[in-house]
Amino acid sequence: MSDPVHNQNAVTPNTIRHTRERVEASLKRRYSSEKRFRVYGLLAVLLGLSFLAFFFLSIIHNGYTAFQQSFIYLEIEFAEQELDPDGSRDLDTLSRADYGAIVRNSLRALFPEVTKRRDRRALNKILSTGASFQLRDMVMSDPELIGTTVSIWLPADDEVDMLIKGNVDRSIEERSRRLKDNQIAWVDVLVEQGRVEKRFNTTFFTSGDSREPELAGIWSATVGSFFMLLVTLVLAFPIGVAAAVYLEEFASQSKWVDLIEVNINNLAAVPSIVFGLLGLAVFINFFGLPRSAPLVGGLVLSLMTLPVIIIAGRAAIKSVPPSIREAALGLGASQVQMVFHHVLPLAMPGMLTGAIIGMARALGESAPLLMIGMVAFIVDVPSGPMDPSTALPVQVYLWADSPERAFVEKTSAAILVLLAFLLIMNAGAILLRKRFERRW
């Protein structure tokens, strides 16, 4: 122990040099391990970012074509003997006339060489079935059109639309294609004649669901989602704020209050489909509310959003400093007055931010809505929260199941619209937070 040369633990110039050599020998390994670790971290971040980029690129690539629809330019003769043989201009007769016939006549005029029945049917399929409805609406609003010949752009069938957008593989043999060779040839002739054009697809934004892709739109789903979010906001925000106020300001420490808090934290983590089961069993079966109504969807979603709003509200109320409370009490306010006149207005921006984020989450939910029946095929635009309707994410789900090629681009476009709404809501919440939140 007293021999410095042979004692391992003594601090001598020898042992110092020995330790330093050991440390320097391991440094290289340790530095490379550090570099590797840092690279792993960077890779993880890049993985997340690159997935996001890949995801957005893929959806945009699949969906941007849906914002355009192919139209075909035809001369339509509103022949009186087809539409209104006795010349009465009676609206009932006009509404029941065969508008498909005048469309077919126009097509036959363009391709007089088509004579066989099967070929004629194939020719008629080039136009959308909605074309005849469009002509009917024109005549019903202006019966003076009968007897005239009008040149208009009519929507093409979804398969022709896909062909124009380049999504049909012409090299596959005819049997495996939806569009036959003669149909492709006719469309090529029409393109050469300049009768085919792609225009902005307003139908996508203004009409409801449809079995025909070229006539399908997201408007009824959007209105349904809007009514549902309205019901959710009206129910969840006041109740959530009231519960947050009670739990933060008035509740004393007791087992009852602990139970409420534990409940709220648990509800925030329950899978959304279980809320759908609750809605099905209680709201639809027990209370007998109408199925597929935005009211029931709003009720279920408000139960889901309530814990989020309560937790955000509590955080906002907690951030108001006690000095404000004590000042109000010191000036003679009662506790209720102090809370409602001072604490709540100061905590309101945080609560609104939490509410908007909760609404954004509710907008994107579809699992509970499937359980309560908002998955039906609804064509009409709902006029109130009690009419059957669907919601935007459920519309995406329904269209994803459809086999037509054109629905792929429609689904992707609907996803883009949904993501745009969510982006606006979240950006609004962040702006609100930045502008109005006070740091004490």
């Binding site: 971290g41 971040v45 994107g364 359980m371």
Partner: protein, 462 residues
């Protein structure tokens, strides 16, 4: 009168009562210049009168909402002939549905005969009569309440205290809605699950390995072999959740570590919100992306190296689900890692450790309880996820550990059973509630365990 008219009348009455209460309070002290003799501001006396007027109206509205429809239905049923009343429940409810549809002007399922028409007319008459009764009783009750409040208002009445007590009751009521929701979930799921377990024994459900939920609608129907063994479902759920966690936990954790330890504040300021976008994408969009883009890529890739990857493989759904959970794990870990005090890190640097050694040996062990809690919460999220698996995973129950095969999960079966076509009390539909009960219990246990782990092992730094 319509129900909205009744509600509007009740609201208008309360507003009138408010004004009258205010006026009365000022009148009892002899004018606005003597207002200081009142105990509370006149507004509180107004609210006092409005509560006295409006609360009975609300009560009557509630009673009407609950009891009116059953009473009317039983009256209409009594008016029908004996043979119709002797029909089994399902048929009788169909007849009543048709009568209701006829009364409200909807499309009716069968041909309309005079008996049904009289029943529908009776239904409408009774509805109108009860609405009139409701409206009249609300008026009477409101007036009575207003008179009571009018008499009671005097300068010494502590109106503010009374009103504030009512407000506090409302606040308490709002908080208990959370409890009612949990109780509602438990009861509704439990009730139906018990009915299911009366048809299918619990042991077969929990331990059976064949899931083929067919029940016959008629007695002689083919395909009525109902096997309700849920083990393949549990296996499928666990397989897909495991794949998701294998993706999410390393990536999420390393992201959190990189962003909090290595990244500059500017990088962190924009990368964090961008990664939060991943959390904001709706799950149905993830499911669509998984089915449309990821699954074909996996299938093609597997085919090119000789593997047979199903188009609805567990790998595809698990990968996308993992990516969805990454921001969840990342933000929870980030919070805990930032909570570790800088002093511990400084001590480690002072002893000569590199940054990665500090993280691995000091920060992570200190933050471990929070990270474990976060991982458990993420696992609970993965188990309960529905839309991704509905769109990207299969429908046939398959007891396997091979991620390239198609499996189905508990949530997928819940959706397909309830969106299907069977009547509500067949074993097939009730199985969905039993599955829901299992899901709720498992996620609840995971959440409670996560909370307890965090609370018990969390180090309290200064």
């Amino acid at each position: 009168m319509q129900i909205t008219t009744v509600v509007l009348i009740a609201l208008a009455l309360s507003a009138i009562a408010f004004q009258m209460g205010k006026y009365r309070s000022v009148a009892t002290v002899g004018g606005r210049d003597r207002m200081r003799h009142l105990h509370s501001l006149p507004g509180y006396y107004g609210y006092y009168a409005a509560i006295w007027c409006g609360a009975p109206a609300l009560l009557l509205l509630g009673v009407w909402a609950i009891f009116a429809e059953p009473i009317i239905i039983s009256a209409v049923t009594d008016s029908l002939s004996d043979e119709v009343r002797a029909l089994p429940d399902a048929q009788l409810s169909l007849v009543l549905n048709d009568i209701k549809n006829l009364a409200t002007g909807n499309i009716v399922g069968r041909a309309v005969d005079p008996v049904m028409q009289t029943a529908a007319d009776l239904y409408n008459a009774l509805q109108a009569r009860y609405r009139w009764i409701l409206g009249a009783s609300i008026l009477v009750a409101g007036l009575a309440g207003l008179i009571v409040a009018w008499v009671r208002i005097n300068p010494a009445l502590r109106a503010r205290n009374r009103v504030e007590t009512v407000i506090k009751f409302l606040l308490i009521g709002s908080s208990t809605i959370a409890i009612f929701t949990t109780v509602g979930i438990l009861l509704s799921v439990l009730f139906e699950a018990i009915r299911f377990f009366q048809l299918v024994p619990v042991s077969e459900f929990l331990f059976g390995t064949t899931w083929s939920p067919q029940t016959a609608i008629r007695a002689d129907q083919v395909g009525s072999s109902g096997a309700f063994g849920a083990v393949p479902l549990f296996a499928g759920t666990l397989l897909i959740s495991f794949i998701a966690m294998v993706v999410a936990v390393p990536v999420g954790l390393m992201t959190a570590i990189y962003l909090s330890e290595y990244a500059s504040p500017r990088t962190r300021a924009w990368v964090k919100p961008v990664l939060e976008v991943l959390a904001g994408i709706p799950t149905v969009v993830y499911g669509y992306f998984a089915a449309l883009t990821v699954a074909p890529i996996l299938r093609g890739f597997g085919g090119s190296i000789g593997l047979d990857v199903a188009s609805e493989s567990a790998l595809g759904a698990g990968l996308v689900m993992g990516i969805m959970i990454i921001p969840f794990v990342s933000s929870l870990s980030d919070d805990v890692i930032n909570a570790v005090p800088q002093a511990m890190r400084d001590g480690s640097y002072g002893l000569g450790a590199t940054q990665s050694e500090t993280v691995k040996r000091v920060v992570l062990p200190a933050a471990l309880p929070g990270i474990v809690g976060g991982v458990l919460l993420a696992a609970s999220r993965a188990i309960g996820e529905t839309m991704i698996v509905v769109m990207a995973a299969g429908l046939a129950a398959n007891l396997t550990a091979n991620p390239f095969e198609a499996v189905t999960t508990v949530t997928v079966q819940m959706v397909t059973l309830l969106v299907g076509d069977q009547e509500f009390d067949s074993a097939k539909t009730l199985a969905a509630f039993a599955l829901g009960l299992m899901l709720f219990v498992v996620t609840l246990i995971l959440n409670v365990v996560a909370l307890k782990v965090v609370r018990k092992y969390r180090e309290q730094y200064e």
